[in-house]
């Protein structure tokens, strides 16, 4: 400036000196002309000189400035050379530009951590503020316009006077250093199109940061951005290597375990210990509600119970956004104030800081991995977040493997259970026990519920409940094809699973009322035909049957059906063999009895005829013996007839010849016939006088009464009264024959009516008979539509009785 004024001053002094010298020698007119000339010339010369001086001055200043910048850049270059950590780069940079900044300006170099959505103070310098390197602010703490410009658009954000921005203090609450700023500038540091960080300049005075300064700083900023980027890349590579080591360690632990629960447990523990967090959780959606599924907590930290649900806003946010969400301080984080995420429950259990990342499994979100810090807010670093994400990825893979293995193990366990159940069922040969075992095994096989088995009755075209005991839980005894879950399974020949039984359209009312909540029915198929249905039901509302259960039950059902069929065949065979054995025994017994009985009359016939042949007899004797032969022949004949009669009756080859008959008359006649032969057995008649006539086969009923009377005599060897009673009871004529004989033990009351089953006791074995009298009597009465039975007390006597319907019933 001084030099430029000299260039102006010299022509002016020259002009005045020339004028004063000329003024003494020239005329006034000439003086004026000369004055004008000189002044004009001087002015022109001055102007030329001034402009020249001016140009010179600018060129000089520019050279000087360039030299200054060059010096700073050179200085920076020297400072920033060599392997420096990002904070070192930052502080060297700030030291390097200190000279160009006014002393009242606070310069801060920030690192932007994209993954953590935060900015971190790398270095700070100048002004009255104490340097706070290492502090991390969430991006969300920045005023929105600044966030949009700086982070969104990578543009500078400059405020000349913060007092002109409404609510400035409120916008920067979370960054106290900005609260006192009047001038503020934030310049993005961009390297290779990536936002590396920012440089902020803060002054307590308005308009303290000139455009020149900003330009200069922005220029230098571009220079440091590259250096910072390199330093960060190196640091990142280092930390990645560290992280890989941790992840490797964790994955080794989690892959060494094949139980998904244990996999998760060890991963949570490793992660929690490595990152020194208070808690590690896995939350997940069950039935649309987020809840805590796994939890690890550090010693001395209050645990968050598994199953805690309903208000896990961070997990909800991570689920909604499908990415990692980090919260430095839950008390002030605006994102968590979104009420749709649930209440502010992140702070529950004292959580202040948290970070959540989704775990995908088989293409589906299987949960959220969450880190909690309880004692203080925590700024999560990219390093930590990447580690969390890496563990989540490892966890996903490990879980997939473990789930596969578990599925395989579950499958083999199911198969084992199936084999065991089948073995139990196959071990039984009694159909009742097989059925019991089948039902028990079926219920336990699918883990819960009770089972029923239906068989198809082809003749009635109905499904019949196989268990003969009273079914429970409203289980229907018979079902039509298609009726209820069992009927559906039968009709469709496919398993039917109903987990919402109460609202199922085909549910049978009684089962719904009995509280069935879930049911599973599988058809029992053989050769493509449904032979029945095996159904498992549960009244537990939590029970869910699935395809696996259906498959398992189906496999079991096939074996159960086979076992049941085999057992039934065996049983039938066993019964047939038993029957045969019984028949055989009865037959040989019969043969021995019959031969014994036949031999007695035969002895008479043989003996008397021998006498007639061999002895010298009088004609009277001869006649008498011939009569005896005849009597014994008749006796033999009667025995044979009786035997054949029963045979004919039992095979239905004998018909009744009914006529209206007075039962009292038959009874009286029989008593009269017997009386002379049994003087020790007085017969008392106790007859109903008004006994109606009945349509009966007179001869057959007579035979019955005679048989009962002769039995009464035979089995009362000590003699004793015999009482015959007749009366009308309801629609029947009721006849009683009471003796005071030996009596019959209770367990033989039915046996006496069986064929050839005369009591084999010492007391009665002498008693003769064909063993067919009572079976014949019962047969005859039953042919008339009545009943025959005996009541007895051993030692006191027996009451044989029978009924005959008043109105004739078609004979069976």
């Amino acid at each position: 400036m001084r030099r430029r004024s000299l260039f102006v001053a010299v022509p002016v002094v020259y002009a005045v000196t020339v004028y004063l010298a000329l003024a003494n020698t020239q005329t006034r007119t000439e003086e004026v002309e000369v004055l004008i000339l000189v002044v004009g010339t001087s002015i022109v010369a001055g102007l030329v000189a001034w402009r020249f001086a001016n140009r010179l001055e600018i060129a000089r200043a520019q050279a000087e400035q360039g030299r200054g910048e060059l010096a700073i850049v050179g200085q920076l270059s020297a400072r920033l050379s060599g392997p420096l950590s990002p904070p070192e780069v930052a502080s060297q940079f700030l030291a390097g530009i200190a000279d160009v900044l006014p002393s009242s300006v606070t310069a801060t170099l920030l690192q932007y951590e994209e993954a953590a959505e935060s900015i971190k103070i790398l270095a700070q310098q100048g002004g009255s503020v104490a340097p706070r390197p290492g502090i991390v602010y969430p991006v969300g703490a920045l005023p929105p316009t600044m966030r949009a410009k700086l982070i969104g658009a990578h543009k500078s954000f400059v405020v000349d006077d913060t007092s002109l921005i409404p609510d400035w203090a409120v916008l920067v609450t979370e960054i106290p250093v900005l609260a006192h700023a009047r001038s503020f500038a934030a310049l993005p540091l961009v390297s290779r199109s990536r936002l590396i960080g920012a440089l902020t300049l803060v002054d307590e005075h308005p308009a303290a940061i000139s455009r020149d300064l900003l330009q200069l700083v922005a220029l230098l900023g571009q220079y440091v951005a590259g250096a910072l980027h390199n330093a960060l890349s190196i640091a990142e590579a280092d930390s990645r290597a560290d992280r890989e080591a941790v992840v490797n360690r964790i994955s080794q632990r989690i892959y060494s375990n094949l139980d998904p629960d244990a996999v998760v447990r060890s991963a949570l523990e490793e992660l929690g210990t490595e990152l020194k967090v208070s808690r590690v959780l896995i939350t997940g959606t069950t039935d649309g509600d987020l809840s805590v599924i796994h939890e690890w907590h550090a010693a001395g930290v209050e645990p968050v119970p598994i199953g805690t649900h309903g208000s896990l806003p961070l997990s909800a946010l991570a689920t909604r956004e499908g990415r990692t969400i980090a919260v430095r301080d839950a008390r002030v984080d605006a994102r968590l104030k979104d009420l749709t995420l649930g209440s502010h429950a992140l702070i529950e259990g004292g959580t202040l800081a948290s970070v959540a990342t989704p775990i995908g499994l088989e293409g589906q979100l299987s949960g959220i991995l969450v880190l909690d810090q309880v004692d203080a807010p925590r700024a999560w670093t990219s390093q930590e977040i990447r580690l969390l994400e890496a563990v989540a990825r490892e966890l996903r893979t490990a879980l997939e493997a473990a789930h596969l293995l578990q599925a395989w193990e579950r499958e083999s366990q199911r198969m084992l259970a199936l084999h065991r159940a089948s073995a139990i069922v196959a071990a039984e040969t009694d159909p009742t026990n097989v059925l019991r075992d089948v039902l028990e095994a079926a219920g336990t096989l699918v883990g819960r519920g009770s089972a029923s088995l239906y068989r198809w009755d082809g003749r009635a075209r109905l499904l019949r409940h196989a268990d003969k005991v009273e079914p429970q839980h409203g289980v229907p005894l018979v079902l039509r094809a298609g009726e209820g879950i069992s009927g559906q399974a039968f009709l469709t020949q496919r398993p039917v699973i109903v987990n919402d039984y109460a609202n199922w359209e085909h549910a049978v009312a009684s089962t719904r009322e009995a509280g069935w909540r879930a049911a599973l029915a599988v058809p029992l198929l053989r050769g493509g035909q449904a032979l029945g249905v095996l159904t498992v039901r549960s009244t537990n509302p939590l029970t869910r049957f699935d395809e696996e259960d259906a498959r398992l039950l189906g496999l079991f059902g096939d074996q159960a059906l086979a076992a049941l069929t085999t057992a039934e065949l065996l049983e039938q065979q066993r019964l047939a063999v038993e029957q045969l054995e019984r028949l055989n025994a009865a037959k040989s017994n019969f043969v021995s009895i019959v031969s014994h009985e036949f031999r007695t009359p035969l002895t008479g016939i043989q003996g008397f005829s021998e006498l007639i042949r061999d002895e010298d007899l009088t004609p009277a004797e001869m006649k008498e013996y011939a009569g005896d032969i005849n009597a014994d022949a008749q006796r033999l004949n009667r025995m044979i007839t009786e035997m054949l009669d029963l045979d004919r009756m039992e095979s239905g080859r004998m018909t009744l010849t009914r006529e209206r008959t007075d039962v009292n008359a038959i009874v009286t006649e029989a008593a009269e016939r017997l009386a002379p032969n049994s003087p020790r057995h007085p017969i008392q008649l106790n007859l109903e006088p008004q006994l109606p006539l009945v349509d009966i086969d007179r001869d057959k009923i007579n035979q019955v009464i005679l048989n009962l009377l002769s039995n009464a005599v035979k089995y009362s060897p000590g003699g004793g009264k015999i009482v015959i009673t007749t009366r009308v009871e309801g629609d029947f004529v009721h006849v009683f024959v009471r003796d005071s004989g030996l009596g019959i033990p209770a367990d033989s009351l039915e046996k006496v009516f069986e064929r050839y089953s005369r009591l084999e006791s010492g007391a009665t074995r002498y008693i003769q008979g064909t063993g067919l009298g009572l079976p014949i009597a019962r047969q005859i009465i039953e042919m008339h539509g009545g009943n025959a039975w005996v009541e007895s007390t051993v030692g006191e006597g027996s009451v044989f009785q029978f009924t005959l319907p008043l109105v004739a019933v078609a004979s069976a």
Partner: protein
């Protein structure tokens, strides 16, 4: 000549035995059941006893046991007359003290030879 007690519940066979042994010279006593037979043996003191197996009150085997139980009657030969002639029953008859078995139906000759055989032995 000796004395015979014959126990038999069937009246026809009673009559037949009486007729068969009428000319033998032996003294024949008939009983209708075991009890009657036992009483008769005690009073008559026979040289030979025949008994049916199936009889009311006291059957043939019980009668045999009772006879063997008493030293007075034990030595008297006892013959069971039975329609059951299986091996097992013959063995059982021996158990109850039988000296012989006469299977039904028997011929008069068989009856008489049995009488002669056992009467000779006792004499």
């Amino acid at each position: 000549m000796g004395k015979i007690v014959f126990c038999e519940d069937d009246p026809m066979i009673q009559k037949l035995v009486v007729a068969a042994l009428r000319g033998s010279g032996h003294e024949l006593h008939i009983a209708s059941d075991g009890e009657e037979g036992l009483a008769l043996v005690r009073t008559v003191r026979p040289d030979l006893i025949f008994s049916d197996v199936s009889m009311p009150r006291l059957d043939g085997y019980q009668l045999g046991d009772a006879l063997k139980a008493s030293p007075d009657t034990a030595p008297i030969p006892l013959v069971f007359v039975t329609a059951s002639v299986q091996r097992s029953q013959i063995a059982e008859a021996a158990l109850h003290g039988a000296a012989g078995v006469l299977p039904k139906p028997f011929t008069m000759a068989e009856l008489r030879s049995k009488v002669d055989e056992l009467m000779t032995r006792t004499k």
